[in-house]
Symmetry: C2
Subunit: 358 residues, 2 copies
């Protein structure tokens, strides 16, 4: 541990370094990058010590990092139930266990999402009043990153769950960015009140009653996400996952076309040379690394899922996010907002929207 | 009517020229562009004659176009039910009626989607065996355009409807492109058989049994659409609409960033001048006009919905598509494929998947 003044003590982050597509080197290098770029964190790696030690030794900034040796790791193809039953010696399990025991305050993992969710729920439990967790995604817009949830924790969400997602997502955005009143929108097929499922229309009404303090802007459509029309976009995990991946696919397609155009002719190549600095900035904007890191909202802890294919830069974003969320007291923010909404519903039975929706 | 040999007789297309965001001029100019670029069509415009005649007079290629005067038009905000009850003198109604009466063989409209669907269903009826229509979207990929359906005719689709969408979408793609065995994928959140809704998993199984001749490749994810992993991507109208709009939003975001990069500095501006030809090609690729035109599959006719905000180029794509679909016998293709699948299901009762799914 690095010695600092108590109020600036580094936040201990557990990094599950195994079970990703990119291999442990990306996790180790990513954690090193996060520290180099100023993340206030102390890292504990979970995984095969004989693999991790030589990798860690390559980064001076990781001199004080810890390693907890784990004999096994979770494979991408492992079923969550299998991991719950037989995965107690895996790096994923050990990392979450360390958070439960208070040895780390957040965990970053690039492993099997379903297993990470199951292990997190089992060991950390859920925040009071939350039945199902939601996974967040950061989405780039001209106005900065917005948050979309759920992007895949559950394929379905009922009315009450959508309302809970909205409350958690708003608190998450507030903790991450410091914005006092983030705007919240419900993803739908039309902006008019009449369109879309009954479920979403009911959720909109319930949300207005349950949390009148929220800057709820009603329905947003798919194209509104990239415009930044809402800071927080709420949907079920099936729709959110498909929206996110469809958008990623489209961005990648356009990115490929740009590359083609820039090298299509000798003149184009010469032109690209002239604008090389500006093109580099463009490339960084499109780079998915900057938005890597999905947070499991509703779980009673801080668990950040890094993309299984994320490179060191992407891992660095996820580690920095974990440190920011702990530093900003995000868990408390979520629990307190939920408790407040619940208390209000109980005090005003006729408009007790969340209860009525059960 | 232009006089030609019988087998190359122009296909009569009705164009509802009213009720769009862009106004009648875009519809008239679009139809003219379609003819100029070789579409084998004879146009009849439906709308306000005093508005349309002067617009038509501006295009020599429209010298033989007809106009059917209509006293009213459908507004974007009109409820479909209102149009069904009181819309008989609107340009939309008259255009679809002309198709019912055989005076035109296809209709292109940029008006109110819900009303167009309702009027089409009421007047033209549905193809035998189809309960609900689906709207198609063309989606650009590096391998050419693919078809996604449903993108918004219905917010929900049951198992049988998804199977019907797949069969209709495949026939549509075959008619549009001439490809004998288009590949078909079901949109889902994961490629593994275990992920996603029961509904989609069941639809996959039913589809395999119902139409073993189809090149069904199983599940595809959101990012697979832009890759061109399947020629036809099948989903419900809610999910399809959100996938399409999320992707459009992301493409527009990246497009905006490109524009910024190309003008960010004097050097960048100079560079863009050098590659102006290649950038123009890039712009055309990103241009949504080239993929304008959603077809109402399942309706017993050929109805092409042009985007309400489409410019003349976009309208031209929609008019050309209408002519191609009639020319290639797309309605017969759809009905015959559906009849074949139904006949097979009836002949083999134990594996009578479509029936069992009802």
């Amino acid at each position: 541990m690095t010695a600092t003044t108590p109020e600036k003590r580094p936040i201990s982050i557990g990094v599950d370094a195994m079970g990703t597509d990119q291999g442990p080197a990306a996790l180790v290098e990513g954690a090193a990058r996060a520290l180099s770029s100023g993340a206030n964190a102390a890292i504990t790696f979970f995984g095969d010590e004989s693999v991790l030690r030589p990798l860690i030794a390559q980064h001076a900034v990781l001199a004080s990092a810890d390693v907890e040796h784990c004999a096994a790791s979770v494979a991408m193809t492992d079923k969550p139930m299998h991991v719950l039953r037989r995965g107690r010696d895996t790096s994923m399990w050990k990392a979450i266990e360390a958070q439960k025991d208070g040895r780390v305050r957040a965990v970053v993992s690039g492993g099997n999402t379903g297993a990470l969710m199951a292990v997190s729920r089992m060991q950390l439990g859920m925040i009071d009043g939350v039945d199902r967790p939601a996974v967040t995604a950061l989405w780039p817009t001209p106005r900065g990153r917005v948050v979309v949830l759920d992007v895949g924790a559950n394929v379905e969400a009922n009315e009450k769950e959508l309302v809970t997602f909205a409350i958690m997502g708003e608190a998450f955005f507030r903790a991450l960015t410091g914005k006092a009143k983030p705007s919240v929108g419900l993803l739908n097929v039309g902006a008019e009140e009449l369109k879309g499922h009954d479920l979403i229309r009911n959720a909109a009404r319930t949300l207005r009653e349950a949390d009148p303090d929220m800057a709820f802007i009603g329905f947003v459509e798919g194209n509104d996400i990239s415009k930044g029309s809402a800071d927080v976009v709420v949907t079920d995990g099936f729709t959110g996952n498909i929206a996110l991946k469809s958008a990623e696919g489209a961005a990648r397609l356009v990115g490929g076309w740009i590359k083609e155009a820039l090298t299509a002719s000798p003149l184009a190549k010469l032109g690209s040379l002239l604008m090389i600095g500006d093109l580099k900035k463009l490339k960084e904007k499109i780079d998915p690394s900057s938005v890597n890191g999905g947070v499991f909202l509703g779980v009673n802890g801080v668990v950040v899922k890094s993309h299984g294919g994320a490179d060191a830069k992407g891992v660095a974003s996820a580690v920095s996010m974990a440190a920011t969320l702990v530093g900003k007291g995000f868990r408390r923010e979520v629990s307190e907002t939920l408790a407040l909404v619940r208390a209000r519903a109980e005090m005003t039975p006729p408009a007790g929207a969340i209860k009525a929706a059960e």
